[in-house]
Symmetry: C2
Subunit: 121 residues, 2 copies
C-alpha cells in the first residue's frame, strides 16, 4: 500500500490517534504551550513532539514564532476540508437510508383494499 | 508512537487514503462487487483486498455472505462516530471565531464619544 500525502489523507491520519485528538480538544479551549499540552499524558517529550509535528504538518495546528514557549493554536480550516468530505458522502447515505426507511414503512402499512377486506369479512 | 486500535482512530485511519475514500464514495451510490470497486484503479487484486479489509475492520463497510460475489455495502454508523467527534470540536472553534470576529468588529467601530469628537473639532 503506497504512502499518501494528499492534504485530506494527512488530516485524517492526524486525527487517527487518541492523544492527538485529546490535544486538539484541549486547544479548542484556547492556545497552549507544549508543557501544558503534555501534562495529561504519560509520554516522553520526544513522543509529544512527534505528535505535535504530525498535527503541524497536517495544518490542524500552528505554533507561535515569538518567545521561547511557542504556544500552539488550532487552525480550523484544515478540519473543514475533512468535514466537507464526510458531509458530502454522509448526505448521500442519509438520503438513501431515508428512502429505504420510507420504502419499509410503505411495505408495512396496510393497503386500502386490505383494510376494506378486514372490515367486511 | 504506539499503535492505536480504538474505533474512532480505526475509522479516521481508514479514511486517510484516497483509494479507500474513492471506494466509499462509489459505495455511497449503491452496493458493489470487488471487481466493480477495483475497476477504476491501477492496483493489484491483493492491494485492493488490503484496502477492503481496512474498510471492513473499521466498520465503514460490510460484505454480503451469500453467493460468490459477496458485494460490499456502506455502514454509515461508523462514520457517524467520526462526524460526532469533529462536529463537537468544530462547534467550539466556530463559537470562538465568531466571538473573535465580533471583538474585531467592536474594535473597528467608532465609539459614540469618538464620533462626537469628530463632529465638533
Amino acid at each position: 500500500m503506497q504512502t499518501t500525502t494528499d492534504p485530506l489523507s494527512t488530516t485524517f491520519a492526524a486525527l487517527a490517534d487518541p492523544t492527538r485528538r485529546a490535544m486538539l480538544a484541549r486547544l479548542s479551549k484556547g492556545e497552549a504551550t507544549v508543557t501544558e499540552l503534555a501534562a495529561p499524558f504519560d509520554l516522553s517529550l520526544p513522543a509529544i513532539s512527534k505528535h505535535l509535528k504530525v498535527l503541524e504538518r497536517s495544518g490542524l495546528i500552528s505554533r507561535g514564532r515569538q518567545a521561547q514557549f511557542r504556544p500552539c493554536h488550532l487552525e480550523p480550516s484544515a478540519l473543514e476540508v475533512a468535514v466537507d468530505w464526510i458531509d458530502r458522502n454522509r448526505q448521500v447515505w442519509t438520503e438513501r437510508f431515508d428512502r429505504l426507511e420510507q420504502h419499509l414503512r410503505d411495505l408495512q402499512a396496510p393497503t386500502p383494499s386490505a383494510s376494506k377486506g378486514k372490515k367486511r369479512p
